[in-house]
Each structure stands twice: as structure tokens, then as C-alpha cells.
Subunit: 302 residues, 4 copies
């Protein structure tokens, strides 16, 4: 059977034409960082394809993302990392260096509204978001998504009540570990994570909140937006922290609404915004474009 | 089995809490039209829920859309139409009066890229777009969309070559008639309709063109956009006419792009724009919000 | 001397090609309102040029705006109002009926940052916003705006301290009355109005707040936005009420920002948003496009 | 007299807290460029504050912009340039290295509609756009802008007819040279430059076209947009080339319009778009954020 989307632009998955590595780092700013990093890469026979730097002059922190391809025989990723570790130590860097085309494993959590879930599965299928879906967890049954072809993705039905919340979360954490998920996505998952789980997933759990934060935190944000009579509604993708709806923001978008819109109309229009905001945030995270900067993010967007 | 989206806001399909009728009309402007129409509606025991008028001062043409609900025992739609016909004759109106909750039949045409098709099927499934999908026609086989649950929607594989184009179109026309489709949607259908078929479908065939028209007509618009170095890309939903990419525009939207974007990136970003622009245009058409005004449209948007 | 902008599209001021009246009304919804209003207008030999209705199904309130021109000899505005009063009484309407081309008087209040003030004076000068500027009040001296040609607009320097606030406000109120200002605009006026003055100006005082409300109320909103790391900044034009930054919203807009932006960059980018949001809100108010609906607004935008 | 905007964020003009240099370069891509550049800067005791690279994989061309501040005693700009010249030669770079806070001289050309001119003078006055206005040229008289305080900026009234066009352009070129203008801005200057003058100003002449190019080239674009019935209108800032409205695009933006909008409404709404698009393009050019890439631009936007 011909794969869906076979005449689409070649997805990143699989058909990589060459090795590419992504290096990200942050450290206290001081002269010589870029020179040291780029000289190391050059001497390791790596060609810089794309690079971004940002110097937060307020905090004195420096952020960098570099995409390279090894030239000629190049150098193995492991050796490259080993060599870089010494340099990184000298500057006290937080850093990451990995293959651009090695897909990461993502666990999706959803509740009854499945527009984000269905959208992510679609983008995954056509190769738009380069990830492996490690599994889907829902507090609703598989039948809730009967029309969604999960194509062999493991599905975990984990119902939850006030009484069983801790057990259910323990099970989620177990699935994260067993499925080797590197990223957890709350794709309109309508349960608040406990502080404990939020802490365990720090920096690798993305939520989509259906308002333009910091406006309308908490429950039923579209109804709050209706009551306030705003003229634009929005959605916010952010990293989950123990502080509800206060995590570092990755991406936001809005659409115009008028007085005609009922709360139900806002919910409907909002689905489009939520889908694209969440998809962008996930793609940027997976391409190592998002670096944490205290309570904010540095996003080297595409 | 519980239907998907059962806890979403109640879709319009099925669960209408009351009868509602939509009246649209256009005619040469002259005093007294609104008075005559609203008095007729009032005397027919219809309450106006929403209304828009527009007087094109350049052409002297008047456009109106009214949504009413019959009060008390109200009046049957047939009787209401019969009575209105006399009034309409007096003003030489083009007009339509129909039940708001009677879903219309829509035929979807697609080619290999199925992002618009999959999106429309999803919106139909959760009741967001109130329509019956009368069928799907593709020049590719059912297997191309193997992962798409068509849920019983008739699928017609109509391959086409330069030699068989006329026969294939004849078959499409036959399907339109047999399936009683009132609207035909070219959901990234990559074949140009002949003048003959375009004429037969005048005013009820919507295409999504993947550029911000009138820029980049014809083939490979994203590649054209890349060559020109534009800073925003867009999509355009329009009625199909025999003049390629020149039909009356219903809706357009854009997104910002940078010099980083390759043509493939534009194709990827464009999919999001195409999906939402086409969905809006279809929804507005089905809610009788789009009136033809020569080569332009009047859109009483929600 | 040729006026600036003489080859621009003819402004509404002065050169009205015909009489036009704007009727706005709101009342409890019930059948027959549109019929009664449009029949009255027709029988008064008024032709409907543009009309909008909105039925707030939640509150049961009905809103309408109609623009008409008298046909032939037409009818005088006073007589038209007199006749309409009886009809309005029958439906317990709040209503207004006035000449579209009679410019209203607007008092502008500003502080040191003059981007909104300079922008409004410019739009007034070229006839884009059809108003008479009744005066400018500032807590800074005329010299602060030395480069701004006020063209004879009365300028009132009213410095204010914590101790003199009430006296200063009394003076503002006196100027409002003496200058017969129908609308007061806080064009980045950085003083909070007292509850008393806010109450006196209810429904006719527009403020521009430099955030996307309800996010970042109060002082230094761009600095708040920076701290929170939002990816879009905005501005909000709203009617002033005694509840700070909580008045009915008329218009909002946003622009995208990145992690590169310092608070000063946000201030700079924000100026563009503030200018256009405030100008739109004022123009819509002056064209009677904004109707109050409790804590929200109905905006029949152009 | 206190300058207007004295309590605004400190403008770049004058009050630079430190020296900063901007380096831009482009050359054929090959390994080692970033290493060579950053090592040179480091060894010259320059700290990198911001940097962007872009590798056009289609053409094999590499682009870079770096902002540095000299550390400690630093190094004089002239010495830094001298040293860099050798490195640049090795890579056959096109490059520029200059002080960030040295304001460049800009000549503004305008015609009767002065919204862009007035806007640029305002932004210059409050220090938002860091430039010296070398002069204003118009084919209309100084009286046309009677209300605009030019604050000593030289004004040149150069009327033009079909017969005198070449002489008038010769005079413009003379003014460019005498005023040492590094950038020429066509701020809604409604005369088409000859091929000769366009060639002389290649890469340093920015025009604002009042449409979303490539749609609606040539005259009266808003009227063209009206005829075509587009749902968004836009403006485009681009470098002037001998090919009318085909020069490399720097920036574009759009706003939504409806069927209600007359051509005059489009002109009015367009003014806001034109102002901000042109201002952004100029600011980016003056901050060396725009690099030419054949018929396209690389814009390292802020």
C-alpha cells in the first residue's frame, strides 16, 4: 500500500539525506563562547548550517543553538559529544548535542475533546512532526476515539476520580518510563497534574491552555472570555509547572471574534487556534528550538 | 458506543431546539425593501434573530440575510415561501428561504494531499460543519486515504488522464446529480475543471487555492512565493468559474514566513492556512452567509 | 493655502453629498421591532443604506443600527425624531437619531508620551476621523508638545499632584461642559480618574490601555508582559468605569514579539498598536457603531 | 525646552551606554566561517551580544550579522575593520562593519499624501528610528505640509512634469550626494524613478507600495483590490530596482477588510499598514538587519 502523503515534501523521518546534529547550550555570558564553540565544531569537521545566539542582558545568560552537518567522513556523534563535554565544563554550560533525525518519543494525554489529539496524530502520520508517538493516555475509553486510526499506537485507558488520582498518576509515570517518552503532551487533557508529577516532568511536559494567558486562567476560559467581552481569543502552549497556568510560555496565537459569538462559538473557533499553537510548540521543542530562561523561554523559531 | 465529541457544545445537527429559517435576497435597491420584508415576517409570526443588510452604492444592488424563528405555532416553511414569492416578485428579488437545521449535501473532491479532506471529515464528524457528506471523489484510490475512517461515506475512485478527462468529468457530474449534492468542494483537488463543468456548478463549487490571490495563480504557488521572497503566505477560498483562479473570493488568510523558509516549509505552513480558510468558506456558504455580487462576494461573516 | 490631504478621498467633514441619519436603539427583544422601525422609516421617506441587528439571546436584549438617507424632499431630522419617539416609547427603547455628518466635539487628555495625541491630531487634520477637537488637556505643559501644530485647538495645562487631584478633576469637568465635549478620550493620559468623574463620563470616555486586557492590568503593563514572557503584546480601548481597566472593551489588537524584545522594545512596538486601536475605537464610537450591552459592547464594525 | 518624549525609554541616539559595532557579511558557504569570524572578534576583545547566521542551501550562500561590544579598552573601529579586511578577503566576503550608534543620513521623498512622511518625522523626533533626516524632497510645495514641523530639516520643492523628469532626477541625485544621504526613502512618492536613478540607488532606496505584492502592481492598487474583492489588503516595503514593483521585498503586512469597504475605505485602512510596514523596513535597514540575497532579502528581524 502506498503511504499516505507519499507525494508530499519528503518528511524528516527516515529519509535524511545526510547526518545533522543539533547543539544547544546556555551559560553565563562571557567573551569567547562563540569562538570556542565554532572553532571546536570546525576542527571537528562540522559545517554550520544554521545558528542562533541570544544574550539576555538582564540576567547575563547566553543561549545558543547550532545545526551542523559533518563534512566528509565527519565525526561520530559520540566522539563529538565527548570532546564537547570538556569545552562545556570550562564555561559551565547546560548543553545538549544530538542527531537531528533521531526521532524522539512522545506520550500524548487526552480527554474527551479530541481535536488536538486527532490533529497531532495526523501531523505525525504525514511526517510533519518528526516524532514517535510512544503512546496515548486518556481518562476516557478507546471507544471515545473510535473514528481515529491509531495505527498501532499503544492506548492506555486510565479513568480517574478524586480518590484514584494519585494511583492514576503513578500509572502515567510508569508508562512514561516504560515507553521511554522524552516528551509528554497534554493535548487538552482536562486533569490538573499533581505537583509531584509536574516536577518529575519539568521541562518536558507541554500543555495547551485555551486562552491567551495570563488572561483567563483556570477552568472554562472561553466562558470567561465571553463574560469579559474580549475582541480576540487565543491559546497558549506552555511548559507545565506546579504553578497552574503559570509555566513558561512557548507559543501563543489569537483570532478576532465579535459580539455575535456565543461561548460555544468561542469554543469552536478556539479549536483551530489550539491545534496550531500546540503543534508549533511541540515541533519547536522537538527541534531543540526552545530553551528555558527562568520563567520565560527563548524560542529560536523557524 | 458514545459518539466522539459527546461533551462538546451541542452541534447544530439534529438537536435543534426550535425551528429557524434563513432568508437571503438581493435586488435593485429602492426604498421600502426592509419594511416590506420585515412586515411580512412579522405578520407571518416570525421573530428576527439576526439580520444583515448591505447596499452596494456603486452598483445599486441591495443584499439581505435574515434569520428568524417562528413564534408560537409559527408558520410552515412551505407556506412562508409561498407568501414570500409574491413579495419577491414585486421587487424582482433573487432569494432563498430554507430551514436552518436542514443539513445540505456536499460532495468532496480530493487528490493525493489529504489535509483538507481529513480536516473536513473531522469537522463534519464532531458536528462543527453542519452538512451531510454526499460522497468523496478522488483521482487516487481509496488506499491513498487508508488511515481515514470514512464512516460509510461513498468513495468514488475516478482516475483521470488527459485522454479520459471528459469522461471522468461526466462521471463526476453524474455523481453530483445522483448524490443530490448541493455543494461541491475542491479540497485540494489538483485537476482543473473544464469550462463546461465549471458552468454547471456555478455558485455552488468552492475551491481552495494555496496562495493569497491574485498573487501566484496557477501551479506551484508556494514555489512562486518562495522565488518572489514574500514575507507572508496565504490561501484563498473562492467559487470556481471558468476563469482559473479568478472566481469570486469568499475568504483569505495569511501567515508570516521568514527567509529561513524553504518551499517545503511554505507547503507545510500553508496546510494550516488552507484547512481553516476552506472550512470557514464552506461553513459560511452552508449558513447562507455568502451572496454573489458580480465578481465579488458579500459575506455576512459570523 | 491648499489644505493638507486635498487629494485624499473626500473626508466626511463638510462635503457631504446628501443628508444621512444614523439611528441606534436597544430594547428587550420581541417580534415586530424591525418591522415597526423599517416601516416607520419607509413611511418617513427614508431609504436604508446600511443596517445591523443583533439579538443577544442570553439577555434577551435587541440592538440595532440603521443608516438612512431621506429620499426626495425627505423629512427634517427633528420631525423624524419626534415621530420616532412614540414608536420608541412603545418598545421601551434606548435610542439615538442624529445626522451622520454633524461632527461631534471631542476632548483629548494626554500626558508626556504623545504618540496617541499626535496620531489623533493627524487623523483629524486629514479628515479621517470626523470630529471637532474641543480641546486638549494635559498634566504637562504646552512645550511638551512643542513640535505639534495644534492649529488653534485650545490647550489646557492642568498639572496634578496627589493633593490637587480633586481640584484638577473639577477643572477638567468644567472644561468638558464649557467646550460642550460629547466624548472624552484618554490618549495615554497617565492619571486614574476618580470614581466621581468616571461616573459623570459614563459611556462617553474612552481609554487606551497598553495591554491585551484582562492580562496586565494596572501600571507598567509592558514590563509585566516582559516578566511573563508572552509571545504577543496588545492594546485595549475601553470605556472608562470606576473599576480600573475593567470597563467594556471596544477594540483590541496584538503583535507578535520574541524573546529578543526588552521591555523598552515592547513599549516601542506597543505604540503602533495603541495608536491604531484607539483610533478605531474613537471612529466607531463617533459613527454610533458601539452600543453598550451591560459590561460588554456590541460593535457594528465597518 | 524639554524634548518631546523625554520620559520615553532612552532612544539610541546620543545616549549610548557603550560602544557597539555591527558586522554583516555574506559569502559562499564553506566550513570555518563562523569559527574564523568569532575567533577574530574574540581575539580583538569584542564580546558577541547578538548574532544570526543563515545558510541558503539552494544557492550555497552564507549570511551573518553580529553585534559586539568591545570589552575593557576594546579596540578602535578602524583597527577592527583593517584586521577584518584580511579575513574577509580570504573568504571573498561582502561585508560591512560600523558603529551601531552612528546615525545614518536618510533622504525622504514624498508627494501629496503625507501620512508616511509625517509618521517618519514623528518616529525620528522621539528617537524611535535612529537616523538623521538629510532632507525632504517633494514634487509639491512646502505649504502642502504646512502643519508639519520640519524642525530645520532641509526641504526641497522639485516639481516635475513629463518634460522635466530627467532634470528633476538629476537634481535629486545632486541632493543625495550633497546631503551625504546613505538611504533614500520613497515615502509615498508618486513618481516612478528612471532606470538610471534606480541603478544609482541600488540597495539603498526603499519604497512603500500600497498593496500586498505581487498582487496589484502599478497604479491605484486599492482600487484594483476592490475590483478583485480580496478579503485582506496589504502593503509592501521593498528595495527599488529598475523593474517596477519587483524589487526585493523587505516587509509586508495586511489587514482584514469586508465587502462593506469602498475603495476609499481601503485607502484609509491602508494608510495604517503603509506607515508601520515602511517604518519597520527603514529601521531594519538602518540596523543592518537586511541583507540582499539575489532577488530576495535575508531579514534578521528584531
Amino acid at each position: 500500500m502506498a503511504p499516505v502523503g507519499a507525494d508530499l515534501p519528503p518528511p524528516d523521518r527516515g529519509s535524511a539525506p545526510e547526518a545533522q546534529y543539533i547543539l544547544t547550550l546556555s551559560c553565563a555570558n562571557r567573551p569567547g563562547i562563540v569562538a570556542a564553540v565554532s572553532t571546536y565544531l570546525f576542527e571537528s569537521r562540522c559545517n554550520i548550517l544554521d545558528a542562533n545566539q541570544y544574550d539576555d542582558r538582564e540576567t547575563g545568560r547566553f543561549f545558543m543553538r547550532v545545526v551542523v552537518n559533518p563534512v566528509g567522513e565527519g565525526v561520530a556523534l559520540d566522539a563529538l559529544k565527548e570532546g564537547f563535554a570538556a569545552l562545556a565544563g570550562r564555561f559551565a554550560m547546560e548543553w545538549s548535542l544530538r542527531s537531528r533525525f533521531e526521532r524522539r518519543r512522545v506520550l500524548l494525554l487526552a480527554s474527551k475533546s479530541d481535536h488536538c489529539l486527532a490533529d497531532l496524530v495526523y501531523r505525525w502520520r504525514i511526517g510533519e512532526i518528526p516524532m514517535d508517538i510512544a503512546g496515548i493516555v486518556s481518562n476516557h475509553s478507546r471507544e471515545t476515539y473510535a473514528h481515529l486510526d491509531l495505527d498501532g499506537i499503544p492506548f492506555h485507558h486510565l479513568p480517574v476520580t478524586r480518590q484514584t488520582k494519585m494511583e492514576q498518576e503513578a500509572r502515567i509515570w510508569q508508562i512514561v518510563q516504560e515507553s521511554r517518552a522524552e516528551l509528554v503532551v497534554l493535548a487538552r487533557y482536562m486533569q490538573v497534574l499533581s505537583d509531584g508529577l509536574a516536577a518529575k516532568l519539568a521541562g518536558r511536559c507541554i500543555n495547551i491552555h485555551h486562552s491567551f494567558l495570563p488572561g483567563f486562567k483556570g477552568a472554562k476560559p472561553y466562558h470567561q472570555a465571553f463574560e469579559r467581552g474580549v475582541k480576540l481569543i487565543g491559546a497558549t502552549a506552555h511548559y507545565v509547572t506546579s504553578d497552574l497556568d503559570e509555566g513558561p510560555i512557548i507559543e501563543q496565537d489569537v483570532e478576532r471574534v465579535s459580539h455575535h459569538a456565543t461561548p460555544e462559538d468561542l469554543v469552536r473557533k478556539g479549536r483551530d487556534i489550539e491545534r496550531r499553537v500546540l503543534a508549533r510548540a511541540i515541533a519547536w521543542h522537538l527541534e531543540d528550538r526552545v530553551l528555558m530562561n527562568g520563567k520565560r523561554t527563548v524560542v529560536f523559531a523557524d
